[in-house]
């Protein structure tokens, strides 16, 4: 988190972590597609010609609160390939919340575990306290034949405290729900530590509403929570 009282700016950093080809960039693309152009910047992607993330992707999302505070979310992905460990650490620095994008297929379990350990190790190496930075797990590719069942997801849920969300990122399913849990956890955590709602007069509800009202939530479970505010500027 970067909080600049003089310029009345708050910047949060959210990082999408996970094995190669688990769908991190796809998540960002889906968010980009659903966000209104006024509320987001360009999706910056540095890819190889094989469509693999080389360094990172970056999607900025922003709004100005009713108290005049400019809030910016920077959504990053890390490169999934093994060789980019140093880049992953650089991108992960100062993250306020981490989405771990796992591949739901049973055949990918070993890879998921390996990257989960990598995430833990990376966080340790750069001094991020795993108990202080919320992590949300997304089980992506729920539609594939070899995917784990919902019962198995429940099992995974019980194994740790992290929220678990199912998704088919290519179709945009579960992406907004993951982002919602992610931002909610990030906000609650920062609010507790930095008393954000008091310091910058921004409540969790206003924070989330500002962001998700700028998103097309059609077909998601969030639709009823954030009715479209078109023509109703705050």
């Amino acid at each position: 988190m970067q909080l600049n009282h003089a310029q009345r700016e708050l910047t949060l950093k959210i990082v999408y972590y996970g094995p190669g080809l688990s769908g991190k960039t796809t998540n960002l693309r889906a968010i980009h597609a659903r966000a209104r152009p006024e509320a987001r910047g360009r999706l910056l992607s540095v890819e190889t010609h094989e469509d693999r993330t080389l360094f990172f992707d970056l999607l900025p999302v922003f709004f100005t609160s009713s108290s005049g505070f400019k809030v910016k979310l920077k959504l990053f992905t890390v490169p999934g390939q093994v060789v980019h460990d140093a880049t992953r650490r650089v991108v992960l620095q100062n993250a306020d919340a981490v989405a771990f994008i796992a591949d739901s297929r049973r055949s990918a379990s070993a890879e998921n575990n390996a990257y989960w350990r990598k995430l833990r190790a990376n966080m340790r190496e750069i001094g991020l306290d795993a108990t202080q930075v919320p992590v949300v797990i997304q089980f992506n590719k729920r539609d594939l034949p070899d995917a784990q069942t919902d019962a198995e997801l429940d099992e995974a849920r019980k194994k740790g405290g992290e929220p678990v969300v199912g998704a088919v990122a290519l179709r945009g399913e579960g992406v907004m729900e993951t982002l919602h849990v992610l931002l909610q956890s990030a906000w609650r955590n920062l609010d507790e530590r930095a008393r954000l709602s008091r310091n910058i007069s921004l409540t969790e509800k206003e924070f989330l509403t500002h962001i998700f009202q700028q998103m097309d939530l059609t077909g998601t479970s969030l639709e009823s929570l954030y009715p479209t505010a078109a023509g109703r500027p705050r």
Binding site: Q2, N4, A6, Q7, R8, E9, T11, K13, E38, G41, R42, L44, V46, L54, F55, F56, L58, P60, F62, F63, T64, G68, F69, K70, K72, K74, F76, H84, A86, T87, R89, V90, V91, Q93, N94
Partner: protein, 498 residues
Amino acid sequence: MSADKPGAVGSGPEHAGSVLQRKASLVDMLDPLSFGDVVDSLGELYRVGIRVLDERGRTLADAKGSNGDFCGFVNTTAQGRARCTALVARLNEGPLTPTQGAQVLPGTSPLGGELLGQPCFTGLRYVVLPVQWEGDVLGRVVFGPFAPEELADVPVALAELEGLELERARELLAHVGRQSEHRVVKMLAHVAQVLAALLASGQKAYLTGQLHLEAMLETQRDLEAQNAQLMRLNQRLKEADRIKSSFLGTVSHELRTPLSSIIGYSEMLAEGLVGALNAEQMQFVRTIIEKGNTLLKLISSILDMSQIEAGKVRLAFEWVDVQELVESSLTSVMPQAQRKGLTVKVHLPEVAQPRVVADREKLSQVVVNLLANAVKFTPGGGQVEVRLSAHGPQPGLVGEGYRIEVEDTGVGIPLDQRERIFQSFYQVDDSPTREYGGAGLGLAIVKSYVEGHGGQVSVTSEVGQGSCFRVVLPKEPPLSGHGPAYIPPPIDTDPERF
């Protein structure tokens, strides 16, 4: 509500570590030279002045319009100059809000924010386009001044300037480019599109480059940490190795002294100096002498090796007849070979007296060690052959030299072990039930002595068929001219000086 207060007290630049934490800035994202060229060409295309400034009011590009003569003329008056300066300052650094006569223009900017129209007291106009990126204002583009299409005559305000020649001003005003509102809107959209494209690619290149650098530094930190760890380990190993060599040296020396006494007294017994021995006693004493000598050789090898590893071996060069040296070396292995029933063949060159420069004792030990190995590893009925030959200049050697080859029909050496047999204490067969004795030092000593002479030792072998060791030596070792030479230790085991 002002979300941005550039230049507010205490709002220094944010430099929180990574480039990903830093706020984007136009200077980082645009290449000043090529961007200047692009802005110049746009200014020429639309015949209007275009100035691009960053959020601190620094000019990044400035294309001149067709207003130069007219504005210059107005600026010749003190009042005109003062008003012009104030207006330009406000355009460059003033708030991006409709104040002091500025109006919000209809339409949206492709770069976000509101377009501001700013009239000049001369009747000309400016338009200000804020440059927003990711929700931040990074700077602005100021267009103008240009003459609006509907401008008919110089305004009253101009007529009020003291000392301005109005007719001349009118004349010059006619040369200022006229712009219709439609054309201005199109121009703004075009410039904004170009700028957006340049910013997007510039930001990508900038972030990528910076992040690459950060990742490299991160990797370097990793490697340095690993390196330091390895250095520490290496230091410890060197120290352990040094202690081992010194221990072996001391122990061997301490063992050799009493052993010499044992052998000496046994020999005196065998020679009957203290009375005759019966046949059985004599056999026992001979066994003591034989085993004592074996042990002495072993201890000597250990001592030699520890001297080599400590860098204490000195080569005393002299003229040596290598033919004679080979022959005398053979005599020390002949009894053993005969006992095993081996055929020993010798090929010495036709040329008489091949005299070379070498350390006689060390070179003799090289040949003896190779011969002893050949005898040891060749089963009964086999053959050991030693060949001496001269050779011309060779790569890796200085000048002409000679070659000593020892070939046997023994057990041979597996391919993957051929390099390692020259390491000290290495044995091809290191099982507890191994057939052949020895400490695994013979070849390590050979290698060290041969290399000390500026030569090379190599081996060819076929498992089950036999081995051939080839020693190639220069006629005159490169260091022999400077008197005795020390053989450098295989690894630098000098303790740290500081």
